[in-house]
């Protein structure tokens, strides 16, 4: 079952409550998404660790129900 952009956003926000999440459905097929996640929890973490935190939030759906999610993560700029 494909996932909706709202579901993806909700799952990410459930584990990273401060996150600003933008999810874009790249092809309109509910299967290829791009997400940008900005959260203070990413401070001091490597890119690999930041992505692992988002994958953990998605609870194993990445690579399964979610075939393609291009990810960009960063701590807030200020």
């Amino acid at each position: 079952m494909p996932m909706s952009a709202a579901e993806i956003e909700a799952l990410i926000k459930a584990s990273l409550p401060d996150a600003q999440v933008t999810v874009e459905d790249l092809r309109g097929d509910g299967d290829h998404y791009a997400a940008t996640v900005v959260s203070a929890a990413f401070k001091g973490k490597s890119r690999v660790q930041q992505h692992q935190m988002v994958y953990a939030a998605l609870q194993g759906r990445m690579g399964g129900a979610l075939h393609a999610l291009a990810l960009q993560t960063s701590p807030p700029q200020d």
Binding site: R47, V48, H51, M62, G63, G64, A70
Partner: protein, 113 residues
């Protein structure tokens, strides 16, 4: 680490300076994300070993657990996980990938100015 698949992965990333776990082969990638990382490495003139996870279902699952990373491709440099397609692309564009290869003593072509 008694898992034979983990042992095989560990041997691959220890014996080869740059290893790409991918779908298909460097000459015939079978997934757009794998193809993009191959393109970046070839563009940079980096010698790498491509490991086709589609040839072995236990490797395809094993590499995800080994790295704690849910997707393929996965790039390793000198035994260290660098990232998947998004991270490698971002690092290539920002010049960080060239810096990392320099730091690790991996030969590559100078970036085109």
């Amino acid at each position: 680490m008694s898992n034979p698949v983990f042992e095989r992965i560990q041997a691959d990333i220890t014996e080869n300076p740059v290893v790409l776990f991918m779908k298909g082969t460097p000459m015939f990638p079978q997934c757009g994300f794998s193809a993009r990382v191959v393109q970046i490495l070839m563009h940079m003139g980096v010698k790498f070993k491509g490991v086709n996870v589609l040839e072995d279902p236990s490797l395809r699952e094993g590499i995800k657990q080994f790295t704690n990373w849910p997707t393929i491709p996965q790039l390793y440099v000198k035994g260290e996980f660098v990232g998947g397609c998004d991270i490698v692309t971002e690092m290539f564009q920002s010049g960080e990938l060239a810096t990392l290869l320099d730091e690790k003593g991996v030969e590559h072509k100078p970036a085109a100015a």
